[in-house]
């Protein structure tokens, strides 16, 4: 009897599951779209931007999840172009620079307003920029403001050096009888605390002797190279030419902040009831770890072109959860790198929703080049040459292979690099084919190992076996993550196949790994990734700039610095990029790193969300985004969304904004022409 009941229960369970599965099957698989398409009834966008925002202070946060929200809340002098992320006019309707590239003047629009109705004036930017640099704020992104004259000195708490009542210049050769003028070429500034003095005495004896017996005047916010000429004209003075400067100003660090409300509410200033914003949106509600809603600000100068009334951000960490909620039709778009690798084959079939475009990032392995065995340039080259990057690309599915350090997302730089690399390679006795073979060339790798003095036994297909490679003390370290592990194992097998060397792998928790890598304590090789801060190749190349550089390899070359300095002084973009490409060539030939690939955007959006582009940094200026209710106008074939499938309405909106600067430049050229014409007539 009891067995009978048991059997009945079991049958019931089986029938129930079969029923569920069959319902499931009938619902899935027959649609053009992945999951439910539930067009929102109102112009509200539901977006997943990643982890819970750390803060809403644009000068405190460093992460992309926050940056995407802050773009909506705070306006800057310039806004990201929705597709290219190049600067387009925003609160500055136009700008100009002096021929030496040292002074930028921004002309602010007069209708700029904070969300409480206060006008946005040049002094607001002056205050905001100086706030970001103040040592008390201790912003992690303060270095973005270091291009402004004395920005670094102020942030580092340095002091000017005064001797006999006169400031000392930074360059001893430039000393004049009148002393250094703070408004002229840079004056000397040093750290005056015990630690700083000790370091100076150890590393820079000349300066230490110059400042003996001098008095110190602290660098203050007033010395920073940013000032208001009048209410609507802002002047930035740089320490050295930085042609990427305007592009840098798209970053949230350079937002227009509202001083009165921040002074009044102190720590509480970013609460929804207190916050005063300057962007297209204001903060409506914030329930940490649950949701944040921003609502259109009717005080915004371009409010008539802002189409979404509200944007809801859901903080989330788990990829599968995001994908589930997207599939269930409860969010409209995801942020970058959200499609799990295992789902890629399935998801990429949805050509109207899946966005895979190159990003402003590079994934690579660093070498510890001061220690054996990677102190040998031949060994480094061999290890790079023996990784089959085409196969890695096919394996990873979302990256683009590369053998260079600057990702190929800057079209003009790409042209310059092609030309310069070919020219320099020719000098080094290499052909263009050799350059391309840097992506994978096992035969050459074996040759390099021989040249490094190892005993190499040749095998089939250009492969070989290195028998006496010292494996003790060599490993590849990466920070713990499923994808990092997969890549490391892949590369490990490549070295095994092509060189017969099995490098041990080691993983480490992220925060433990960071100091280990930056102190170059790792043995042999370590994983690294770099996300550009602005849309210029310099954001990548600067990683190897200066002897104290951030490359975690130990590589530095004064000639490299000189080339980059020279490039940045060049106001002509083409020749500037050519100089930068020379620097990159010099660095890459030394192979301090193994470039692996450029990451792809790898996210999804529902077809009715328009104006949201897979740009290289996944930074979305929200005022271009809208919800399309007419299915015939929905986005389709989004592989081409940046080109022929582009949205004419958005393009027109961007063009209208760009016009103020273009008109300004045109009128300037006409003026100069006229002036030179008058001079000729004289």
């Amino acid at each position: 009897m009891s067995q009978k009941i048991f059997c009945r229960i079991l049958t019931g369970i089986v029938l129930f599951s079969v029923g569920v599965v069959s319902i499931g099957c009938s619902n899935a698989g027959n649609s053009k779209y992945w999951g439910k398409i539930d067009v929102p009834k109102e112009d509200n966008l539901r977006y997943i931007t990643g982890s819970e925002p750390e803060s809403l202070d644009p000068q405190f946060v460093t992460g992309q999840p926050e940056a995407r929200i802050l773009i909506g809340l705070f306006d800057r002098l310039v806004e990201y172009h929705p597709k290219t992320m190049q600067p387009i006019p925003s609160l500055a309707s136009s700008w100009e620079t002096t021929p030496d590239g040292l002074v930028y003047t921004f002309h602010l629009r007069k209708d700029g307003k904070f969300s409480n109705g206060d006008p946005i004036k040049a002094k607001d930017f002056v205050w905001s920029f100086k706030r970001g640099l103040s040592p008390e704020l201790a912003s992690r992104y303060a270095f973005l403001g270091y291009d402004m004259k004395y920005g670094e000195e102020y942030n580092s708490g340095k002091s000017f050096v005064k001797k006999n009542g006169k400031f000392l210049p930074e360059d001893p050769a430039g000393a004049s009888l009148d002393g250094c003028d703070l408004s002229g070429p840079k004056c000397l500034a040093v750290v005056t605390d015990e630690e700083g003095m000790k370091e100076l005495k150890e590393n820079d004896k000349d300066t230490a002797s110059r400042i003996e017996g001098a008095e110190f005047v602290p660098v203050t916010a007033d010395n920073v190279g940013i000032s208001a000429v009048d209410d609507y004209t802002l002047k930035a003075t740089l320490k050295q030419p930085a042609p990427y400067f305007v592009g840098l100003l798209c970053h949230q660090f350079f937002s227009a902040l509202h001083q009165p409300s921040m002074d009044k509410f102190k720590k509480e200033w970013m609460k929804p009831e207190n916050i005063v914003t300057s962007g297209a949106y204001q903060l409506e509600s914030w329930d940490p770890y649950d949701q944040m809603t921003i609502a259109k600000s009717d005080k915004y100068w371009d409010a008539k072109n802002v189409k979404l009334n509200k944007i809801q951000f859901y903080p989330m960490d788990e990829q599968t959860t995001m994908m589930n909620i997207y599939k269930a039709g409860r969010v409209d778009a995801l942020y970058n790198h959200t499609v799990p690798a295992a789902w890629n084959d399935e998801i990429k079939k949805f050509k109207d929703e899946y966005l895979l475009h190159p990003e402003v990032t590079i994934e690579y392995y660093t070498f510890s080049i001061k220690k054996k065995p990677f102190d040998s340039i031949h060994v480094r080259r061999a290890f790079s040459l023996s990784v089959n990057r085409a196969n890695l690309e096919a394996f990873r599915k979302t990256i683009k292979q590369t053998a260079d350090f600057v990702p190929s997302i800057f079209p003009e730089y790409e042209k310059a690099r092609k030309k310069v690399f070919a020219e320099l390679a020719k000098k080094d006795g290499m052909t263009e084919k050799d350059l391309e073979a840097r992506l994978f060339d096992p035969a050459q790798a074996c040759k390099e190992m021989k040249e490094a003095g190892y005993s190499v036994t040749d095998g089939k297909d250009g492969k070989c076996k290195v028998s006496d490679f010292p494996l003790d003390g060599v490993e590849l370290t990466y920070n713990t993550a499923e994808s990092n592990k997969a890549v490391a194992e892949f590369v490990q097998s490549q070295w095994k196949q092509n060189l017969g060397i099995t490098i041990p792998l080691k993983n480490m928790e992220f925060k433990t790994f960071l100091p280990y890598r930056s102190a170059i304590e790792y043995k042999g090789m370590a994983r690294a990734g770099w996300v550009g801060d602005y849309m210029d190749p310099f954001t990548f190349l600067s990683q190897f700039y200066s002897p104290k550089n951030d490359s975690s390899t130990g590589w530095w070359n004064p000639k490299y610095d000189a080339l980059l300095d020279d490039a940045n002084k060049d106001l002509d973009p083409t020749s500037r990029f050519e100089k930068m490409a020379r620097a990159e060539y010099m660095m890459m030939m030394d192979q301090p790193v193994i470039p692996l690939g450029v990451a792809g955007t790898n996210w999804m959006k529902k077809p009715y969300v328009k104006g949201l582009y897979p740009n290289p940094g996944t930074m979305h200026p929200w005022k271009f985004v809208y919800i399309e209710r007419d299915p015939s106008k929905w986005d389709h074939d989004v592989d081409k969304i940046m080109t022929e499938q582009s949205d004419p309405a958005v393009d027109a909106q961007v063009a209208a904004l760009e016009k103020t600067q273009l008109d300004f430049e045109k009128s300037r050229t006409e003026l100069t022409k006229k002036e030179s014409g008058e001079k000729d007539a004289d």
Binding site: S2, I5, F6, I9, L10, V20, I23, G24, N27, A28, G35, K36, S51, E54, S55, D57, T62, P135, E136, L137, A138, S139, R140, A142, F143, E152, N155, S156, G157, K267, M270, D287, P288, Y289, D290, Q291, Y314, M316, D317, E318, T321, N324, I325, K327, A328, R330, E509, F510, K511, T512, F513, L514, P515, Y516, S518, G529, W530, V531, D550, S552
Partner: protein, 305 residues
């Protein structure tokens, strides 16, 4: 009895301080810090940060400050989430974890107890085998498998329940079930075992011999002894449920304390880690005390002197 409670309550204070001290030491031993990221900071910026958060002071000064704050039950501000105090964070996220945790536990107790009692009474019946097989299944399927399967069926195939986020009653069903299933299975097995043992004991035989009705024997005598293992399990179980469970919170994107706690460790957010650890340890000790007290009511053999 009161003497016992007072003594136990007083030991909580030094115990919590020891836990906090050990945790603080462990955080300090762990490499890395809250401000480090993929991009290395210029030394000057690192110096500014260390000065701002008092990390440039000697360790004993920093430790003194931490203990001084905690004694006043103020855990300070989170390092990761600017301007948010740890107390606010715990207050804000505890209700989410607690709602799901308590509901899951209620679900587990109702289902587990009834299944366990019936199974014990009808030992070796179809129900016994069936429910114990199901409970075995519940015990062996981890929540990170159960959660996604439930989401797949109810949210992505049937579209009847939300796949994630805390948005209302319907959004509670899946997480509560996922979380409660394991506890229900556990309780069912414990109740069954406990009941079987008690039902064979002398005092139940005596009760029956006295001529008490079967209902009174079961509910008044057997059940009290039978659920003692369940009660002792309740203390730690409730504490950990209230504190939130990482897996369920992540799978269903619920803003609970569990995920917050784990993230705070990855972020090296010292005040938040210490705050949650202190809170959890105190809660665990209090729940254990309550459990110990309740023994006295359930089992006449236990007396506190």
């Amino acid at each position: 009895m009161w003497h016992f409670i007072l003594k136990r309550l007083l030991t909580i204070i030094p115990m919590a301080l020891i836990v906090v001290t050990v945790t603080w030491g462990l955080i300090r031993l762990a490499p890395g810090n809250f401000y480090s990221g993929e991009k290395k900071l210029p030394p000057a910026i690192e110096k500014n940060i260390r000065a701002k958060y008092g990390l440039d002071q000697p360790w004993y000064v920093q430790y003194g400050k931490v203990i001084g704050r905690i004694v006043r039950l103020d855990f300070g501000d989170s390092l990761k989430y600017e301007g948010q105090s740890v107390n606010t964070i715990i207050k804000r996220h505890l209700p989410y974890s607690a709602t799901i945790g308590i509901l899951a536990y209620l679900f587990a107790v109702v289902v587990g107890l009834s299944a366990g009692i019936i199974a014990a009474l009808k030992q070796n019946s179809g129900f016994d085998y069936g429910s114990m097989a199901l409970s075995m299944l519940g015990l062996s399927v981890p929540s990170f498998v159960m959660g996604p399967i439930l989401v797949l069926v109810f949210s992505l195939w049937l579209f009847i329940l939300p796949p994630a986020r805390f948005t209302g009653l319907s959004s509670l069903v899946l997480p509560v079930f996922t979380l409660g299933a394991i506890y229900a299975a556990y309780i069912a097995r414990m109740t069954r075992a406990g009941m079987l043992e008690i039902l064979r004991s002398d005092y139940i035989r005596t009760a029956r011999a006295k001529g008490l009705s079967e209902k009174t024997v079961l509910l008044k005598h057997a059940l009290r002894g039978g659920i003692i293992p369940v009660v002792s399990f309740t203390g730690p179980a409730l504490a950990s449920l209230l504190a939130g469970t990482v897996v369920v919170e992540r799978v269903f994107a619920i803003p609970g304390l569990g995920n917050m706690f784990v993230q705070s460790v990855f972020n090296r957010d010292e005040p938040l880690i210490l705050g949650v650890v202190a809170f959890l340890s105190i809660m665990l000790m209090v729940f254990n005390l309550i459990v110990d007290i309740s023994y006295g009511f359930l089992d006449p053999r236990i007396r506190y002197e």
